[in-house]
Subunit: 328 residues, 4 copies
């Protein structure tokens, strides 16, 4: 349940305030040139402490490759990637160790496991995504050799759509001890026809699962998404041309299999649940209590979710590319 | 890739115009009372030929239990469920055997496999969902013993929201040789706290994958879905009360784990791609050609997708219930 | 747990005295010419009723292909294979429905599931191997296109090594209401170098699991097997030559990966546990009772295990061949 | 392919001469008391440098727990275990970097991946088993709470059966630049009835796969193993008594499911392929060459394989225990 993918299988580990976070990649093909220089830039993009809009937790997030690379090339052996945690203020969490933060996994983890690492959310922290992004960087490197590229962009934050408005909106929320959500779009270009497998291995199903599995995501659309519910078939079908399609309402996937067009995904990101405003909740003894979540939280997770969503799409695609090679 | 679930693993088989469709369930607990009477009613709900709004293909869809049940009880052995196809008019498809129907999987299957059963869409046909619904019926029976129930409803079709308007809209589309899409909501009640597994086995991720893997689905929302992108955290967090939560914006899932509230899922269904109106497409030799899709197609798949979506949610939940038992 | 293989995934179903047995193959590549004529001869080899040395149960074991084949070619869709049971004498088992046959799975199934299809062993019957052999036939067809072939032979039965002695030994055991075991060798020729994956996907590990998973098998050897325990390294290492190896003590596998030599496997088969001689056992109420197992049992399963063991080796190899294609 | 187990899933990583080796355990139940003190003693047992009979490579093999444990208790999150490599003499391998050592995986890895970490065997080194033993220690801790214990013993080395003879035999082989093999028996006590799943998830099949997947193992027996091939059924069946069985020829498994008796496994271990004696082999350019394998090798791997085989049996059993809980 901490492993993603069946061919390029990524197992992540680590808690927000434990010694380290990381990932093990099993199934990366041999003979791929790989060094930390391929991974570090993507970790830097998701890193906190880099912007006034983000958490001030200060992590260098330096990645170490523990295995699977020999003389600068992958060998086919598992690639273990390690990032030590450094700037942990676990003391920040003493005040809430017995309270369930609304909108967080505190309550469900406690109920499920009967124990919970309350420091910074433990395993449910966004810090877990360090492993995803590191592994995604390796996937992106491999995909680039097939001409596949992935890029994400912010569509809107709290209804605002220009970068200036968005920054102001985030800072305004921060200043009132609140948070805001938004929408992100991820596009993959260069995908060949044929990725994905009927009927339970559909590419769009895999993408939807991958995206909804990112913390804070509450909705996923492929192509035109919910808009198609209001269309006629004659409007929505992408008619074919001599070399491709006349439109891409489908978002690059037909019958669960890539069509060769751009793969287009949108995700809805909820406002960060950790807010300074006073909320009502329960404690582990069942009492209703008030809570103010201090700590170093992002007032909006949307900008930092971009590299994570890109990484997840990369992991889905690399898995599909390898799967498809079996049948060639 | 034709198997869904890791504990209650369902493998479906069969093509639209082949001899039969069906499913094998591996992992159904022993000592569950089971007969075809538990399955047939759900198959009847998804059956074509039952309404002027649906395809006139006339299938009785009688299910046979081939294994795994002894003296009316499951034994723990695989349960094979078989439905023979009967009312096949394969001749209908001669006209389009060499043309790719826009919005269909024809093109991607042909490119992926180099061969394609063009009769009624073959494996990509909605007829494949017979196996899902049959297996889902067994899942629902098992879930009911835990007090878990699932029901779906149509939210809208082509923007209309009352049943009368919806029926008129579907008939109007049918009469013009067109089709319409819509939105469906599925709700599970009675779920215990604790279903789902971090970080890649999240319940919402599994649901999203299951729903997006249904043909024609282009969007999935958990709880309030895309609306959360426009909210403040202080609005969106579900505050806790003495016995539960003050609201359910989250749709019953926190950190990927069920919270004990109702699980709420919405899906966007595209208009049926098979339409009688003239469209432009390509044939298998690369020529641009016109196409009119005759055959017996649903002008709107929304009503018939309901039992399929319920079945898929049942399969996700039964898998999570069994998974959770490991850690008790 | 009723599915074997991760690429060419075979799910078997069915009980000895239920309506049918069969298998669903998921992952067979498209464009393989396939008909029942490719499968029936192997089913005929494992069929009972064909020899005075075997059970007199009379089954035609006619296989029907329900899906996945179109105009004589596989399409990439799941291939469902069905064999109806015909000659069931379930009445034979009334006498033992409440007694655990020594050496059988009766006791463990009853304890595990709390219910048990006692007719002919239900799911634990050798009849389940119909599905394995049918699927194995498809695997063999695919492997043959790579030049890979598999054949098995009887090494010994109850210590006898010539066919004449073996037949006499089996008949003698039958006449005294007893049974005998033996040893079988399976060899695969034509395997390329490189099949199998370190460290838990080793080819020899997969073969050992596949073989030990056949009912009645109690030992598995690769290459020289237990003999190597008494050797010096200088005797046991297969030294390399210009084009291959000077010997094949390793049985064609080095470090879990095929070396290009013949793959050689031996298995130990226990004497059939169903014997007419009086034995002591327990009944489902906990009483110690005597038991004589009547019914139509093989006095020696060794001859009929050959096609099953060949099928299992084929399933391991086809899976490895497909896996290996991912990294080419 | 570097992950073992479906419920208690262990992914190992690391090469003999890379920065580190280790494992990630996914699926360990929460609330198990765990510290490095539970793991270190088992690592010390398999550690080199501890005996004149073993390699003189000097590793402290100190394990660090990177995640999944909070305040001395498992949390249900993945447990990452890390052991840094220290005493690497990679220079030892310069002489053989272009030669395939007979009996080793050098040739097959080179052919499979087109690249190979030749230092100490890289990923194919026995050093990989550090991860298995560390994970196995956690499994053993969990199993002990169910009263299940595992212990191994040397049956014979090169035909010798007393410890004194065995030590002399190993030293004699070492002094002549040669190596010897042997036989090991592993027994699990305290197993409940019901572990293992028909038909491809049989407990004996899983054990056979686990054991054959240990480097150097060429044969696996359950219970009486190959001896049963020479028996009558009336000799081999374990008759039942009021409280159990009159014998244990079956080795504690009937129909693939544990019977409640001791589980008994024997494995054949080949002589270490790395020997100082001159052998003939090929180099990576296809030339036939002579080779003398220097380096710090065990003249007999049998003593050090014991904790590895125990660990693998523990991993099989913990997986089966968790699987079985699903159906209770």
């Amino acid at each position: 349940m901490n492993t993603f993918g069946r061919n390029f299988a990524v197992t992540t580990f680590g808690e927000s305030h434990g010694p380290a976070v990381g990932a093990v990649i099993d199934g990366c093909p041999a003979q791929l040139a790989l060094s930390t220089a391929d991974i570090q830039p993507l970790l830097d993009r998701r890193r906190p402490g880099a912007s006034p809009l983000a958490s001030v937790r200060n992590e260098t997030d330096s990645v170490e490759i523990l295995s699977g690379v020999f003389e600068g090339m992958t060998t086919g052996a598992p690639i273990a990637l390690l990032v030590r945690n450094q700037d942990m203020h676990s003391g920040d969490y003493e005040a809430i160790k017995e309270k369930f933060r609304p909108g967080h996994a505190d309550f469900t983890y406690q109920e499920k496991y009967g124990i919970r690492d309350y420091r910074g959310g433990g395993r449910s922290s966004g810090r877990e995504t360090v492993g995803r992004v590191a592994a995604g960087a390796v996937a992106l490197k491999y995909l680039s050799s097939f001409g596949i590229a992935i890029s994400g962009q912010i569509v809107s934050v709290h209804g605002k759509t220009t970068m200036l408005e968005i920054e102001q909106e985030i800072l305004a929320a921060k200043n009132t001890g609140d948070s805001v959500g938004g929408i992100v779009k991820i596009v993959a270009t260069g995908c060949p026809v044929g990725l994905g497998d009927p009927v339970f291995g559909k590419l769009d199903a895999a993408i939807a699962g991958a995206m909804m599995g990112i913390g804070s995501v509450k909705g996923v659309e492929i192509g035109d998404g919910f808009v198609v519910a209001g269309r006629f078939g004659s409007e929505n079908n992408d008619q074919m041309t001599k070399t491709g399609f006349a439109s891409n309402h489908a978002g690059g996937i037909l019958g669960g299999i890539s069509s060769g067009q751009n793969i287009v995904v949108c995700i809805a990101v909820k406002p960060t649940p950790s807010i300074a405003k006073t909320q009502t909740t329960r404690d582990i003894r069942g009492n209703v209590v008030e809570i103010n979540v201090s700590g170093r939280h992002d007032p909006c997770i949307v900008p930092r979710i971009l590299p994570v969503a890109e990484a997840m799409l990369a992991l889905v695609l690399v898995d599909a590319v390898l799967e498809q090679k079996k049948y060639r």
